[in-house]
């Protein structure tokens, strides 16, 4: 049982394929009567154009690729949501691939998508990424390309980011204004730009308020997981019992921190105040409720697709395109953990 084709319609109607094609695509130069006949028959036979043929002919597939570190992640799944929603609005489908935070896999995924000839690629770097040849390859091939959140600064592409440094500054400042005198920081891995920026924001805030910066108060996550929050909570409270505030790279880790304190009867916020990052759903559900930095993840997805679309359209119309960077706003959400 084959799908209906233009040819079939043309044959049953005794006209040419060309005319059928034109009739269905609303070309002005088809008589009303032929058009009507064609449209009716097409409807009856449930005709839909063969995408494979259309792709080949038009050299585009109305499909984009998305590469992220992992799907099972509050932030990324929200971004995915935004991208899919916006893509769909504009007639595009989205293929999702994961890098599992591995640079090797990330490269392979880029390769995949290039071979697949997607119309564009959106990517957020893995934590391991410290090499950008695969990304340069995308640019070199002229594939529309957008980076978001974890980006390679030096690559000349569109970007959607937040101001991590500023947000981290504000988070730390928030703790200071709440009266914290000795503030620790649990930071992300060494590579990712946003871990670096958040660390810098933390440091700057201390400087501004004349609090001495102490490297011993900075703890570095490797995997950025719940368990590390527990472990570092233990280390911090034991090694520096006078620490009265902590700014933590992300809510997941902060929740681990809180869990440890709860178990060990260390009062939050009385003894130690905590602020996380991302406004993960969970942060308003845990006891005490976690103060955090709200990061517009859904919107980030939407904007990423919008930029990609602009570039895809520019390319189609052979117009020049100049990469843009969109910086989205963040805001401090005060909850119980820093009251």
């Amino acid at each position: 049982m084959r799908e209906t084709t233009l040819k079939q319609i043309a044959e049953t109607l005794g006209i040419s394929i060309t005319t059928v094609s034109k009739a269905l695509k609303n070309y002005p130069d088809v008589s009303a009567s032929t058009k009507k006949a064609v449209v009716e028959l097409a409807e009856k036979l449930n005709y839909t154009p063969n995408t494979f043929a259309v792709n080949l002919r038009t050299r585009e597939s109305k499909t984009i690729g998305l590469i992220i570190p992992e799907v099972v992640h509050h932030f990324f799944s929200n971004v995915i949501n935004g991208i899919i929603a916006e893509a769909e609005k504009n007639g595009y489908l989205v293929i999702i691939l994961q890098s599992n935070e591995s640079i090797e896999l990330e490269k392979k995924q880029v390769e995949h998508l290039l071979n697949k000839r997607v119309d564009g690629i959106i990517l957020s770097l893995s934590n391991e990424s410290n090499d950008d040849n695969h990304i340069k390859e995308i640019i070199k091939r002229g594939i529309p390309f957008v980076q978001f959140d974890k980006i390679a600064k030096l690559i000349n592409s569109s970007k959607v980011i937040i101001n991590d440094q500023k947000a981290a500054f504000e988070a730390t400042e928030h703790l200071i204004k709440k009266g914290c005198k000795k503030i620790a920081h649990i930071r992300g891995p060494v590579n990712p730009q946003n871990a670096i920026d958040r660390f810098l924001g933390y440091k700057k805030a201390l400087e501004k308020y004349n609090i001495p910066f102490d490297y011993n108060l900075v703890y570095t996550c490797k995997d950025v997981v719940f368990e590390e929050g527990i472990e570092f909570a233990k280390q911090i409270t034991q090694q520096h019992p006078d620490v009265d505030g902590v700014f933590i790279i992300t809510d997941l880790v902060a929740v681990g921190f809180i869990a440890y304190c709860n178990e060990n009867n260390i009062k939050i916020p009385e003894k130690i105040k905590v602020i996380g990052f991302s406004n993960w759903f969970m942060s308003k559900v845990i006891t005490p409720k976690l103060s955090t930095v709200d990061q517009p993840s859904f919107e980030m997805g939407v904007k990423s697709f919008d930029l990609l679309l602009e570039e895809m359209n520019a390319r189609k119309e052979q117009k020049p395109f100049y990469p843009k960077t969109i910086e989205l706003g963040t805001s401090i959400i005060e909850r119980e953990s820093s009251k």
Copy 2:
């Protein structure tokens, strides 16, 4: 800058396209020397076959479609993870679409994927789905198709499920064995089979242990969200202060239930014991830690793809394929909320 094609290779080497094609595909009937030349040039020019042309020719795209209610959801994002991982292993890419729990959207998404001519479709029904014409259409067109978790029982397709009734029975039984005498149930919406089955499992457990079933103790979620957990916690504790156990359709709602109790100083598990469903990550992070039913979501994704692959392969080889149903095991995880 155009991509390299077979034609280009053929021309520069002064041989026919056919030979080039054969050389690259390891046909036995090409001389070693020509083959070497072709392969080398192809490598040098960075040749990759044009997927669009291959798709058209072979009538397959090595791409499957996945429709789920929502991406931002612990359970589904884990399933996605499983499907993507398994698909990739087998050379397939995955397009993801959301129904946002709307039957209308679900139909549109199916339509999308059919038009796109994906090689197969994996779907989990939206809560609203009470009509299966769109699903019948998939089957009618002969597209390989697998349902998981929220399924249409009557459709003759492969399925990957858990035994919701049994799991719910065990969850309720767990509460009974912990000494609960009056157990409420917060159930899911009316349509989805698994909400029905979990309700039936709850009822059966009561029967087995001679606890009278009381309709007033059954509360029905509409949206299955955190807020409903809060609301029903309020209703249950006020309307039936002697309820000493609750079995809740899913962890997200259970967490809302716990949040309300925490705020209102209702002791869990002393005053009332709680068990959820899904083993959502946050259930082991909240205070008190939530007892729940572990549901193998990643594996569900893997198995779903495996079944789809079997069917896609059978179809390619023109062999008959008989839909299979895989039932995955669940297990009770006892944590603090039911101690």
